[in-house]
């Protein structure tokens, strides 16, 4: 296929209308650095960029700009607090880096060495590798949930203990739920099923700390926080406030 022939195909690519095989082939070609096709893609995207201009503007509700500026202000204030905390306690950030970069692999190596010593030369190389992987699965991991919409300034830091099937969650920047409502923490499995891990509310300062049992943590592909009615497990139906993905 020539680049001239790809010019029309790039139009379909720009609007995400290609088959997976066609898309993969085209992306491989683009990764090869073809300037002609890169320019054609830019032209295709510029064409699509015009489409929203065909819409008639619709005024958002008058209070939306107030909500936006409040979100900006609270997000900046939260960021400033985090920066101040980091400046006051630089050692804690350094210790976290040391723990992640050095102590965890060192711990894994020490445990592996201890196992080798105890079990002796009869342990095969593949068994030792299996034991190291097993130990690594028991080392806590971390991921972050990010706020959406009017909760864009909120974050939740999740420390995940695979061995105990537990999430330790620290929420910041999330204003308390309205009266009669609470927040729900969901663990979403690979097959789409949702597990209600915890219900909680935040303090007036928008903070919460919680411990949530999450079975089958290896099958979890996403985590979400929604706003729900205050009682009853029910199906997940409330607005999405935070979302994120655990590390692979």
């Amino acid at each position: 296929m020539t680049c001239e022939q790809r010019r029309d195909q790039l139009l379909l690519y720009a609007v995400d209308a290609l088959d997976a095989d066609e898309r993969a082939a085209l992306e491989a070609h683009l990764r090869g650095g073809c300037l002609t096709c890169a320019a054609s893609l830019a032209e295709a995207r510029a064409t699509l960029d015009h489409l929203p201009l065909s819409l008639d503007p619709v005024d958002p509700p008058p209070d939306l700009v107030r909500r936006l500026m409040e979100t900006i202000a609270s997000g900046d204030a939260e960021r400033q607090k985090q920066a101040d905390r980091a400046r006051r306690r630089p050692d804690s950030a350094a210790w976290r880096r040391i723990l992640k970069d050095w102590l965890q692999p060192l711990l894994a190596a020490v445990i592996a060495s201890g196992l080798t010593y105890l079990i002796g030369v009869r342990l095969s190389t593949s068994s030792l590798r299996d034991h190291i992987q097993d130990m690594q699965h028991k080392i806590p991991r971390r991921f972050v949930l990010k706020g959406t919409g009017q909760s864009a300034a909120a974050t939740a830091n999740v420390t995940w203990d695979p061995a105990g099937s537990t999430w330790w969650v620290q929420v910041t920047g999330l204003p308390p739920a309205p009266p009669g409502k609470t927040f729900a923490l969901w663990a979403v499995r690979d097959d789409g099923q949702r597990h209600l891990a915890a219900r909680f509310n935040t303090s007036p300062r928008g903070e919460a700390l919680l411990r949530a049992p999450v079975p089958l943590t290896d099958e979890i592909s996403a985590a979400e926080v929604t706003e729900e009615p205050g009682s009853g497990p029910g199906p997940q139906r409330g607005p999405l406030r935070l979302q994120g993905k655990p590390p692979c």
Binding site: T47, P52, L53, G75, T148, L240
Partner: protein
């Protein structure tokens, strides 16, 4: 912030953490961005949520805007569509499918006034561009226009479009391709959507 500052100046001010610049961009372009959210999501509450998310992202990640890649309005509308489509797909995963494609998303909501005048020359250019784009779309064959709009605004794959309208897959791909080719030719020579440098 003077009323006549153009969008590029406002984007630089946003990068310099001036909230009044973000508000000025909101006053100018939120109407069109909100209309885009409504067109994709067909739900006012979800559209409001996404609009706030978009402006938060513009504020929080102002360094991502690169004037060399397109004008401010093009950037704002691009981010808006991306986030709206992300939300649409998340809603579908949660079983909250929006109304059928083709449903009038505005319902009883009145149209907006259009962007507030900032830079007068920019406002005139924006109106002229909108007229040109609407004319170009109206000149497409109806099946081509329908397929292009379903692909762009409803984020439907060509397989989903084919199933929805009951047409063969190859026919849908041809309609999208031909529709975009005609649009590309009709709009050739225009500046980018945001008047980029």
């Amino acid at each position: 912030m003077g009323q006549e500052q153009d969008d590029h100046t406002l984007m630089r001010a946003v990068a310099a953490r001036d909230p009044s610049a973000l508000k000025a961009l909101y006053d100018r372009h939120a109407g069109l961005m909100f209309a885009l959210c409504l067109r994709v999501l067909k739900d006012r509450s979800e559209a409001e949520d996404v609009l706030i998310s978009v402006f938060w992202e513009v504020w929080d990640r102002s360094a991502r805007y690169d004037a060399a890649r397109g004008g401010p309005l093009s950037y704002l509308l691009g981010v808006t569509r991306s986030r709206a489509v992300d939300r649409l797909r998340a809603l579908k995963r949660h079983g909250h499918a929006p109304p059928e494609a083709g449903t009038d998303p505005d319902k009883v909501m009145p149209p907006g006034r259009g962007p507030r005048p900032g830079d007068p020359a920019q406002a005139v250019e924006a109106r002229e561009m909108a007229v040109r784009v609407r004319r170009a779309l109206s000149e497409l064959k109806p099946p081509e226009r329908e397929s292009v709009e379903m692909a762009f605004f409803d984020a439907m794959s060509h397989a989903q479009i084919a199933e929805r309208i009951g047409a063969p897959l190859g026919t849908v791909k041809a309609r999208i391709r031909n529709g975009l080719i005609h649009l590309r030719e009709a709009l050739r020579g225009t500046s980018d959507a945001g008047g980029g440098r």
